[in-house]
């Protein structure tokens, strides 16, 4: 593998792809922020800040939603999948920009954390095809997004465990492609989450709906 191309894939291409991602997200956030948003004006019954905080942290409190309390396995799956995703993203920064910390044990830890996400991604794909409820709402973007994340995880694990220039190049080419696609896909949900959780949480907080005592939820 040509060293120049490996370097390009790891550095220049990543910076271009990240720049693209940031620019598109800034545009999206500005567009969304410019939409009208009627504010709560009735005398507050609770705290909008606490409500927003609760919205942001809800997902970490499985008993706060029936959807996680009743389906604890699904909640654990969600956690493991997103931890894997977080590590895979972190790896795209640490490998090229902080190679000193990527010792053999660290690479193994990263790979071990990404591996469950890779397996759970397959479970998610199978479930999406098998469940009539999920199949009905799924679009080509749903399948492609899931598949591309799977590819990203797989290449990440290979680049971590088989530390050859070939796998690193493949990994960073996939990462760049992924970054170019993400702003257009449902994978962008993590950006919108910060908006919606704040809006919904503030409303529930203002009206005294959330947070409630634990027994109330």
């Amino acid at each position: 593998m040509n060293n120049g191309f490996v370097h390009f894939a790891e550095f220049e291409l990543q910076i271009i792809a990240l720049g693209w991602l940031v620019v598109l997200y800034v545009i999206k956030v500005v567009q969304l922020s410019r939409l009208p948003m009627p504010r709560e004006k009735g005398l507050p019954k609770g705290s909008p800040i606490q409500g927003a905080l609760r919205s942001y942290t809800n997902i970490f409190i499985p008993w706060s939603m029936e959807s996680s309390k009743k389906h604890l396995w699904r909640w654990l799956e969600f956690g493991a999948y997103h931890i894997g995703a977080l590590i895979a993203i972190l790896n795209t920064f640490t490998t090229p920009f902080a190679p000193g910390i990527m010792t053999e044990p660290v690479r193994w830890v990263f790979a071990i954390l990404i591996a469950p996400a890779l397996l759970l991604g397959i479970v998610k794909l199978v479930r999406r095809v098998a469940s009539p409820e999920l199949r009905l709402i799924s679009t080509p973007d749903d399948y492609f997004s899931l598949a591309s994340v799977e590819l990203f995880f797989f290449a990440g694990i290979m680049a971590l465990l088989v530390d050859t220039s070939l796998w690193r190049t493949i990994y960073f080419l996939i990462t760049a492609g992924f970054l170019f696609y993400v702003p257009f896909s449902k994978i962008s949900h993590y950006v919108y989450f910060f908006f919606a959780a704040a809006i919904t949480g503030r409303r529930y907080g203002w009206r005294g709906v959330r947070p409630q005592a634990r027994k109330a939820e």
């Binding site: 679009t139 080509p140 989450f193 908006f195 919606a196 959780a197």
Partner: protein
């Protein structure tokens, strides 16, 4: 033409809230699927919250999402068609009661009911909203426009109720004041004695400074999704409160009236309203706390359960007040499971109870609530919303629950000790 009007209205409703719900915020994870009472009753994949939201989201995406504009097939985006708009009528008015149970069970907080509400508004603009809801909203407006025509009948009705009040309290001093300027409270009932007499008993027993006016609390503009009518109907009460210079508006046990006046109406005015707005539930809670009523819970000895109206509870924040009152006026209170924030909609919310041709679907969608009630073994179901009361009464008949449905004020009146 109708499509243009519907699309224009969808554009107007594209707020930050709708914008984020319509965008790629929904990851199609399916966590909301079994949060919906309509889906739980039908098990039809098209009845899940995400499937319903998706129908509207895809139309929004066609106009607002970059990828969907270029490759609509990739995200399922599509233009609104006449056929789709026709299907939205049942989707928006029958198959979703805007209960928000899906919102509190979504890890992202996707506001699906906002999308459904936008669809309702589009249907109003296109002239496709259920006729009965339009008629009921128009009737409320007409009552204001022709107030003098209704006045005599209203006063006559109140006089009759006043006689019953005096008989109940055993004193001719008990009164139902009408349009009394300077009173502390403007109490706003629904049309019908069942939301006037019990409250009049409570206000008199607590020696409250109160008055009534001839406008009722219900607001079918909300159910329609017609912002102009909603505002117009609400303004009747707000203007009356300003004219009478009251300190607060107290709304009867009505879910949508509370959410609309307490939380939505203040947004329409640049200046803060010169009075506070409360529900009778909060007033009862205050009277119980301040010992302004002499109550004997032994008078309500049968097991009682409480149904949280979605508007009062999940959307309004009145979760503990009714419970504190029930514990003070009844001997055996049993919670439904789940309750409060996770309470199931009765199946008749958001105007559905008024549309006769959809009664079969409504009763079917009420099955999860009927099951919840049966599990408590309660003989009395208290609910603080007239729509819920109507629906649960019908559920009791259909599913043989053998229960009596009552309001919280009526239950409190039962426990009242009259000297």
């Amino acid at each position: 033409m109708t499509l243009d009007l519907a699309n224009k209205e969808l554009g107007k409703k594209y707020t930050r809230l709708v914008g984020s719900a319509a965008a790629n915020m929904c990851a199609h994870c399916g966590w909301c699927i079994d949060a919906c009472h309509v889906y739980l009753a039908s098990r039809n994949p098209a009845d899940t919250p995400v499937a319903k939201a998706e129908r509207i989201r895809r139309v929004y995406k066609k106009d607002h999402d970059w990828l969907s504009k270029v490759f609509p097939f990739w995200t399922g985006a599509k233009k609104l068609t006449e056929a789709e708009l026709e299907e939205w009528v049942t989707l928006a008015y029958r198959d979703c009661t805007l209960c928000e149970r899906c919102v509190v069970n979504c890890p992202m907080g996707v506001e699906t009911p906002q999308l459904i509400a936008a669809a309702r508004s589009a249907l109003v603009a296109a002239g496709k909203a259920p006729e009965i809801l339009t008629q009921l909203a128009d009737m409320a407006i007409s009552r204001e426009e022709n107030a003098e025509l209704y006045r005599d009948f209203f006063l006559e009705q109140v006089k009759e109720i006043e006689k019953q009040l005096q008989e109940f309290l055993g004193t001719p001093d008990a009164v139902i004041p009408i349009e009394k300027a300077g009173a502390q409270i403007l109490y706003v009932p629904l049309s019908g004695a069942h939301t006037i007499l019990p409250e009049a008993i409570i206000f008199n027993a607590a020696h409250a400074s109160w008055t009534m006016s001839m406008f009722e609390a219900s607001n079918y503009g909300v159910f329609l999704g017609d912002s102009a009518k909603t505002k117009r109907i609400s303004e009747r009460i707000i203007n009356e409160a300003k004219r009478l210079k009251v300190k607060e508006i107290v709304l009867t046990e009505c879910g949508h009236a509370y959410t609309t006046l307490r939380w939505e109406a203040p947004k329409w005015f640049s200046d803060p309203l010169p009075f506070r707005i409360r529900s009778i539930l909060e007033v009862l809670d205050e009277y119980v706390r301040d010992n302004r009523l002499q109550l004997d819970p032994l008078k309500n000895s049968e097991p009682v359960t409480y149904h949280d109206s979605c508007n009062l509870g999940r959307k309004g924040g009145l979760l503990e007040e009714p419970r504190r009152v029930i514990k003070a006026v009844a001997q055996d209170f049993r919670e439904m499971t789940p309750n409060r924030l996770q309470s199931f909609c009765c199946g008749g919310g958001a105007g559905l109870v008024a549309v006769a041709e959809w009664s079969e679907a409504r009763i079917k969608a009420g099955k999860p609530k009927a099951d919840q009630i049966r599990q408590t073994g309660a003989k009395i179901v208290v609910t603080s919303c007239d729509n819920c009361r109507h629906q649960i009464t019908e559920l009791s008949e259909h599913y043989n629950l053998g229960i009596k449905v009552t309001s919280l004020t009526e239950l409190a009146v039962q426990a009242l000790v009259i000297k």
